[in-house]
Symmetry: C2
């Protein structure tokens, strides 16, 4: 896999991963979770874990890195969603 291709992958990874940060911060600040779908984030977490596996199997550092970080961020959203829904 060429160096340039992996730069595109890492740029893609940075954007899709960073796209979760505003949502995590927004939920953390506002504690408003009623419009967030738990189904969506649970399916996403399962998918992200499978993408990580796929990344390992095809030796793609972009896919591996992106999905480790996304898994952490999605887990934060799921945690907030469950915690603040109970109040």
């Amino acid at each position: 896999m060429s160096f340039n291709v992996e730069i595109i992958g890492l740029l893609a990874a940075t954007l899709t991963t960073a796209s979760f940060v505003p949502q995590v911060l927004k939920v953390w600040r506002t504690k408003e979770v009623k419009n967030l779908s738990l189904t969506m984030y649970s399916a996403m977490l399962a998918g992200v874990i499978l993408w990580f596996t796929y990344g390992v199997l095809i030796n793609s550092i972009s896919i591996i890195l992106a999905n480790i970080i996304t898994a952490i961020l999605v887990s934060c959203i799921i945690y907030f969603r469950i915690r603040y829904s109970k109040k």
Copy 2:
């Protein structure tokens, strides 16, 4: 790339892509968009377009398919977010 590896990729793609469908349906039904971050979905759309490019370059059918469909779904959310915010 082996057949089994691509099955894991397609399963991952199905989950992360399907995880957007409940959010699209929820916004479409409730028309409540104030908790959805436009910044998040705009960065995600840019990232998804780059992932598609990466998928083409490394010949990954899973990445290509996942990101075509995710791009369409994220575009729907961005459309709803802009349309319903104005009301």
